[in-house]
């Protein structure tokens, strides 16, 4: 049984890894359409991506929209999370459920709703519309991360500060916030990524005016499979790889330096 599980596991690892790895050689390929193995290698499609306005504008739109979404999400979620984690009140369970609702509704359903509602409000195909929609979809994710952090928060630290004479505001700024910082950063990062990757709602409401990168990629894959998509895929993949390994390597490097320092 054990050996069987092991071989199955290895087969699955290959299955998971292959699609992630394949886009890298494709991005350096000379081929005009999908072809593997590539006939030759060059950097032409990288140049194409970094010089073509029709790719750079959506990239910029996505960064702008994801940043604004993150700020708005955090401004709404941080106080609400404090209320929901630290207080008991009537209607709390409904409020809890409301925070998670956007996760339960398929994005295509929301896309139909936003398309018509934002059309009535006159903000369909604008940055504002996409930001407002994306914020709703980012709220549950930011909330889940932050509330998990806040539940694990040791409140005796706050009491200690207050017993030493710190006012509630001072305690909040000098004790609560610094301890919560990692949770806040991760929660904001998740909100950013949620918006940056969101495709379905963006396909329907971002239009020409606020075209996001996923929308542009979707259209491009659907129509012609432009090789530039392999370049963007590689860049996004590299960003994920760096984002995941950098904290690990950094903490290991710090740990080693600390050991050398004390030893």
């Amino acid at each position: 049984m054990n050996r069987f599980m092991r071989w199955l596991g290895i087969a699955v690892v290959v299955f998971i890894a292959a699609p992630l790895v394949i886009v890298v050689p494709m991005s350096f390929s000379e081929a005009r359409s999908l072809q593997f193995p590539p006939p030759g290698y060059w950097l032409g499609y990288y140049r194409a991506y970094f010089t073509d306005v029709s790719w750079l504008v959506p990239t910029w739109n996505s960064i702008l929209i994801a940043s604004a979404t993150t700020v708005l999400t955090m401004a709404l979620v941080v106080p609400a999370t404090f209320a929901l984690v630290r207080h008991r009140f009537r209607g709390k369970s409904i409020a809890d459920l409301m925070m998670l609702m956007p996760l339960a509704v398929p994005h295509i359903v929301m896309a139909v709703g936003y398309y018509s509602y934002f059309g009535d409000l006159g903000i369909v195909h604008t940055h504002l519309g996409v930001i407002l929609a994306h914020t709703c979809l980012s709220v549950p994710i930011a909330f889940l991360v932050l509330s998990a952090n806040l539940k694990g928060f040791d409140r005796t630290l706050e009491r200690a500060a207050q017993s030493l004479g710190a006012s509630p505001t001072r305690t909040f700024i000098h004790v609560t916030l610094p301890i919560l910082r990692p949770g806040l950063v991760i929660s904001a990062l998740f909100a950013f990524i949620q918006s940056f990757d969101e495709t379905v709602v963006a396909i329907f409401i971002s239009g020409r005016g606020a075209e996001t990168l996923p929308r542009k990629m979707f259209d491009s894959i659907r129509q012609e499979a432009d090789p530039v998509i392999a370049v963007i895929s590689t860049l996004l993949f590299a960003a994920v790889l760096i984002g995941l390994t950098a904290p690990l390597l950094l903490s290991r490097w710090r740990g080693r330096r600390a050991r050398i320092g004390t030893g």
Binding site: M1, M5, L8, G9, I10, V12, F15, I16, P19, L20, I22, M26, S33, L34, F36, P37, A75, L76, V77, P79, A80, F82, A83, L84, H87, F89, M99, L100, P102, A104, V105, P106, H107, I108, M110, A111, V112, G113, Y114, S116, Y117, C136, V139, L144, I193, D197, T199, V200, F204, P214, M217, F218, I221, A225, A230, I232, L236, V240, L241, L244
Partner: protein
């Protein structure tokens, strides 16, 4: 004195509401209203009747799409389980370094955008892709069409959703007390019977979590079936998309969306009653 305590406690009770108010108002205006808009459109566009629902539920073409969507979601869930269970097992039972590497791979896949992974499968399964190349190399004269079939979209969805399954099962496996397994072994449980009577029941909550999550996400999946699937075997999300951006049939699109939403919520409610919804994503 009594009065001031009462007013103090009243003020204390105001706090959570004040903190919660901005988000609650925001969600009401930008989440509930557009959602309600879909519900309203489904019975008022183009005329205020229930005709849209009647058409959605009785037309053979749409019925086929519903059946197809359910079948695909079920197949994807089962495949995710077949793929995810051994991987989670490997993660939970390997040396720390190996476990770490697999965890890194799974998280990497999880965080890589749906679109990137969908595109990658397009490359892998394309007519000039490595898989067809391999099939030719081993002597197949006429390799089958892989791309734009039910096979390609199902395979890509399994790949995209497998990390959800792995993470859910792994988090349960990691918490299993190894002494339980050892004591079962000391009582004579071996191989398959150890797995069936001890390990499998212990991991059941992870399986339930992962399966519900994968099934529900798959029901409403838009991007991958539209890009990789066969145009003749649509899933419901693709059909809703068509109604909106091709036919501008908001009434029909909304009615289909409401049916999809209803089914999703029924599944999640049953789950919520038994396990609690917050555990699903947490």
């Amino acid at each position: 004195m009594a009065l001031s305590i009462a007013s103090l406690s009243a003020r204390k009770n105001m706090w959570p509401w004040l903190l919660l108010a901005p988000l609650a108002i925001y969600m009401a205006v930008f989440f509930l209203v557009p959602l309600a808009d879909v519900a309203v459109m489904s019975v008022t566009e183009p005329r205020p009747t229930l005709a849209n629902y009647e058409r959605v539920l009785t037309t053979a073409l749409y019925q086929r799409v519903f059946v197809n969507t359910f079948a695909t979601a079920a197949i994807v869930t089962i495949c995710c389980l077949i793929v995810g269970y051994p991987l989670a097992y490997l993660m939970a039972n390997s040396k720390p370094r190996t476990a770490m590497l697999i965890l890194l791979l799974v998280t990497m896949s999880f965080w890589t955008s749906f679109l990137v992974r969908t595109y990658a499968w397009m490359v892998l399964l394309g007519n000039n892709g490595p898989l067809i190349w391999l099939l030719r190399a081993i002597g197949m004269e006429q390799p089958p069409q892989l791309l734009f079939t039910r096979f390609s979209s199902t395979l890509a969805m399994v790949h995209i959703l497998a990390p959800y399954m792995v993470m859910n099962i792994y988090s349960v496996m990691k918490k299993i007390d190894p002494t339980l397994i050892r004591s079962a072994e000391s009582l004579g449980a071996r191989g398959l019977s150890l797995f069936r009577h001890v390990y499998l029941p212990l991991t059941a909550p992870g399986i339930a979590n992962g399966s519900v999550l994968v099934f529900v996400i798959c029901l409403g999946f838009y991007v991958t079936p539209v890009l990789l699937g066969s145009p003749r075997e649509q899933m419901i999300a693709g059909l809703i998309g068509n109604q909106i951006d091709e036919f501008l049939a908001f009434g029909m699109g909304s009615a289909m969306a409401m049916v999809l939403l209803f089914v999703t919520l029924v599944i999640l409610t049953i789950y919520h009653r038994r396990f609690g919804l917050d555990k699903l994503w947490g």
